[in-house]
Symmetry: C2
Subunit: 301 residues, 2 copies
């Protein structure tokens, strides 16, 4: 006589690109039951019909919260904080809340503020996955494949089953969890992600907003396409991220400007040996990173 | 009774990524006979065996030059100029010389210097296609599909059959030829391509050369991968390009710095409305370019 393992319910709130892709991935792996909620009811109806989420997702939010073992907030940053403020009282004590946001300090602070007093654990997640596109109809089930996911815990959740529970959800869809402090996380992604978005955007304007449009279009090839790709991301989302992570972003911009300055000065001073050395240094560093990706089984760029 | 059209011979000198991919593409379309030459004899043997080029490519260079209707110099910039200097006397008067280089003024000058006196036409080509990889074994026949190719002519070749001949070669492999002056070309690609390579390289160093290596590796995802891709290009080639195009590159860097400065100041001044507006402006400009690519039938990024 065997036992049937009862699957935990993951409730995803928010059906943009990241929330919908997560629902698709979890559904495919089938280690969790997947419920979903968003204010746009037609999206939930679409997701139920596509069998991305269970049909009970059509219930009211409070009824869904009462069933959830893990709640994933896949919302814009202000909406996430608003959600914690408004719905803390409807959460089950045994559930764990997480998110998918690009900064972590603000989330952890909101978690501490609204959840600790009621004894609900908050674990911040940041899966290093995404595209420049938005919305449920750009979602795909393999978005998170092999991605690193940063996990942040606070005093309450640190040694709690909560971290394991959230990690098990990400691991079930082939992610690799990395524990990190919220402060360290925010500094890290300022340089690995936020600055790159700002550069892509500034480059795009400096290329396409000067001179003859038709010439510019002819002159942009795959190099520009890739370097500028993240400039097509959501401006509101990136405003929120940079606003919340201002000091770390400015510090990372300083680092970039320092390295950029070496290239610029080498050109101005006709010191092309230095230019070549700097360029070769970047190539070597990037090769090491590509090697790391390869060892992880990720197709490189 | 019909006539058999005699195909023109294209002789490709240099079998790196671009030369080899061009040979593959021309061979597939079969509108031209493809001959090849490079100092590394084993590469020519490999290309003959793979049927990328005709077996007579195993002949001596001077014998090949005597057969060529179009010579494509797919060499590093200094080697191209060296080639023109050393081999001008062996060219047929009726042949046309072109190249695939990323700057055009220096090539046109070399063409004028070494070829005009012997009455051979030089037409500069710059196909807007490539990858960050190098060498014949990374080549593929679809590299040039739908690419724009800039064509530069000088006083001698301007109204000459030569331009038509070179254009017909590119058009035979689905490229779109755009005539432009060498000066305008070099200014244009400084901003659409050269600056992007410098930014990618400076970003890569500023991300991967600071802090804990393992954290950096975890923190770099697909956004960094794409923004930094061209940092993996050949440092020697980029040194040569930037060196030859110094003043246009510095001018393009000024434009970038001006736009970048707006982002930086918006963050410093807590003016996130401006930040969002700038970011949205970049997104709109890039969408227009993506729309142009779509209309051309190019898969966008």
């Amino acid at each position: 006589m065997g036992f049937v393992r009862v699957k935990d319910n993951v409730l995803i709130i928010g059906f943009g690109l990241l929330g919908t892709s997560l629902a698709m991935a979890l559904k495919e792996r089938n280690d969790f039951r997947v419920l979903g909620h968003t204010r746009r009811r037609e999206i939930i109806e679409w997701a139920v019909e596509k069998e991305i989420i269970e049909s009970e997702s059509l219930l009211e939010l409070n009824q869904l919260l009462a069933k959830a073992d893990i709640v994933v907030l896949a919302l814009p940053i202000p909406a996430t904080i608003e959600f914690l403020k408004n719905h803390a009282d409807n959460l089950r004590k045994s559930c764990v809340i997480t998110d998918i946001g690009s900064t972590k300090k603000s989330f952890m602070e909101a978690g501490a503020k609204y959840l600790q007093k009621i004894g609900v654990a908050y674990v911040g997640s940041h899966p290093m996955a995404g595209t420049e596109k938005s919305g449920p109809f750009n979602a795909f089930s393999t978005l998170y494949n092999n991605a690193d996911v940063f996990l942040c815990s606070d005093d309450f959740s640190r040694d709690h089953e909560a971290v394991k529970k959230v990690a098990s959800m990400w691991e079930s869809i082939s992610c690799n969890c990395v524990r990190i402090s919220a402060d360290k996380h925010d500094k890290l992604v300022a340089k690995t992600s936020h600055v790159a978005h700002i550069l892509a955007s500034a480059l795009t304007v400096s290329v396409l907003d000067y001179g003859d449009k038709s010439d510019n279009f002819h002159g942009c090839a795959s190099g520009f396409r890739d370097t500028s790709r993240t400039a097509s991301s959501d401006p509101v989302m990136w405003r929120e991220i940079v606003e919340l992570n201002k000091s770390a972003v400015l510090e990372a911009l300083d680092k970039f400007e320092f390295e950029y300055g070496k290239f610029r000065r080498a050109i101005e001073n006709n010191d092309f040996d230095s230019f070549e050395r700097e360029f070769a240094h970047g190539k070597t560093l990037r090769s090491e990173w590509l090697e790391y990706l390869k060892n992880k089984g990720i197709k490189n760029g």
